[in-house]
Symmetry: C2
Subunit: 355 residues, 2 copies
């Protein structure tokens, strides 16, 4: 078991004592940082940045040089898997992600190849290994993947969507085809996250960005069921420590009980739910991660500190809380406000621990 200088987040995820509440930010390696934008420019297009282990490692490390974060998260894109399945991911400047090919019929699902993740996504594992070396035992590294349902929405639509009409039509009209697609994705995500763990990831998070656009029954059948399969198939340990799994469904507040029973170690919350109410619902089945509205980072330092205080107080005394935003940090945020946020979590949370 390798020693970690700061293992707060692993302790919090295991429900163990910590001195202060650990904190990281979804999309912490990102466009709000001028040094990120500089590396991104050097890389040329976005995919070249993702596919260069050196540059992915560099941008992963950037926020850690500025802020007292309690974890690093691999810099990558959630759509590397569909790209490895041959759909041809690309980014139009100013637009979201796009695929050259879509998957919209049972026949197209049938033909979809299962990638060899260690070969076809080797650049990700190389980045993970390089980041672990660079971290040098200071902080744990989080690996991640998109959820099968979230990946499927992009693969069917060929891009982001406002109403996900094609993905939903496939789900309602040809549920067997959608299930086959989700099954292929669950197998691939499981292999992908296990490869990240083997390469050095010490925590993994599954991002279910679009589970919240479903009705409750569809969410359970088409999104949560596949995340459960993945959790069940992941390596339980690495370096002699448990590898905790964080499951984040945006707008999943109505389904917390089901998510907490998925086998995951921690449920990520967006900001629409009160974290104290969420804690009452899940009890000590799982840890909770979240849940400050990222838009508060546009406010002034006093408002940021006040909101941090509200969330810490709502969670209350004791263990099992990883502080985070309720969604990814947005590009226009002032980096100085991020420092206020991160420091404030540590400063204000000591009173809820130990003593």
């Amino acid at each position: 078991m390798s020693e970690l200088k700061n293992d707060r987040i692993l302790r919090a995820l295991a429900g163990q004592d910590v001195d202060v509440t650990p904190v990281w930010m979804m999309r912490q390696a990102g466009r709000y940082l001028p040094e990120y934008r500089a590396t991104r420019e050097k890389a040329g297009d976005f995919m070249s940045l993702c596919q260069s282990p050196e540059m992915a490692c560099e941008v992963t490390m950037q926020p850690l040089r500025r802020y007292e974060l309690d974890a690093a998260i691999l810099f990558s894109d959630i759509l590397t898997i569909p790209d490895a399945m041959g759909l041809g991911l690309y980014f139009e400047p100013g637009e979201g992600p796009r695929f050259r090919k879509t998957v919209r019929s049972a026949a197209e699902v049938e033909q979809l190849p299962l990638p060899d993740v260690k070969r076809d996504l080797g650049y990700v594992m190389d980045a993970v290994a390089m980041i672990r070396r660079e971290l040098n035992g200071e902080l744990p590294l989080i690996g991640f993947s998109g959820s099968p349902w979230t990946l499927a929405t992009y693969m069917v639509e060929g891009s982001g969507s406002k109403d996900f009409r094609n993905a939903k039509a496939l789900m309602y009209n040809e549920p067997e085809a959608m299930h086959q697609l989700l099954d292929k994705l669950a197998v691939t995500v499981t292999a992908y996250l296990n490869a990240q763990i083997e390469a050095g990831a010490q925590i993994v998070q599954i991002f279910d960005t679009w589970g919240g656009i479903l009705s409750g029954s569809c969410y359970r059948e088409f999104s949560l069921a596949y995340m459960k399969k993945i959790v069940a198939g992941l390596h339980k340990e690495a370096d002699g420590r448990e590898v905790p799994v964080i499951l984040f469904t945006k707008n999943g507040g109505l389904w917390l009980n089901d998510i907490a029973d998925s086998g995951c170690h921690c449920v990520g919350l967006d900001w629409t739910i009160n974290i104290g109410d969420a804690r009452k619902q899940v009890g000590d089945r799982v840890a909770l991660q979240g849940n400050m509205d990222p838009a508060i980072l546009y406010a002034d330092p006093a408002s940021i500190r006040s909101e941090v205080g509200h969330i810490l107080k709502a969670y209350g005394n004791g263990n099992g809380h990883v502080f985070n935003l309720g969604h990814g940090i947005t590009p226009e945020v002032n980096p100085d406000n991020v420092k206020v946020f991160i420091d404030s979590v540590h400063e204000q949370s000591a009173q809820y621990h130990g003593g």
Copy 2:
């Protein structure tokens, strides 16, 4: 008291017996209908369509000629109020709504005039009166307004938004200014809905499209509180009948108990919550409206009928249900599928009433 040939929806909203579950659709007068697109083209720009009582009346009536709907809803835009406050609403082709002026500071809020709704929005009341004459006692007419918070988001941003950064920054940094803006809007919305009722609206709905982007505590303070004020200030009766108020907060499923206590007669639900669970929460305090995913209208007739059946069954026996989509119908839907949907609600719901 004027007689209505079909008063199912008024009976359902009052928790009274009906033969079958009444149904209407948010945005039922809209772009999915070729006859709407023809009128829209004739009008030139979208605002001219809204501002012509004759054309607004025509598009309001169009869906009623095709489908056995149980209510008409005034055709208008939710942003007529900010336009009447002098912000200059316009529509770029292919884009959402935009304002020429924004409201982003305490001084700008202070200067914002309260419109005289009967004068400045007289075209809306003229449309309401004309539609009532045209309906000729066949069906009740629903009037509507955007909620103060929803109107405020557009007024601060100057358009739609992905993260509402300016609206949220104003809310967090200058809560008094945001409260003053919301107060002005609540006064205006109350007068606007009362004028619609005087002109002939028999039901009113408040659309809180963007309440669901807030944390629970901000939702209660900045959105729900102002909708409560409006409900308290509305005319209780017209034509010797109660005028029920429907309150729809998209993504409001976590706050149903609070919404049910707002004084409204009915809570509109989006599709993410199970309507049976919602009914258990609200009991017989209020009726419920909803809540089929509009994307199901992209599916085949069998899937549409099946989903209608699931929702009716989840609601169960007895009164107090108005069937609707969980959000507005989208432009690309096939009008034939809408007929399947509407007829299916009536056909499958008889078993849950009377007997």
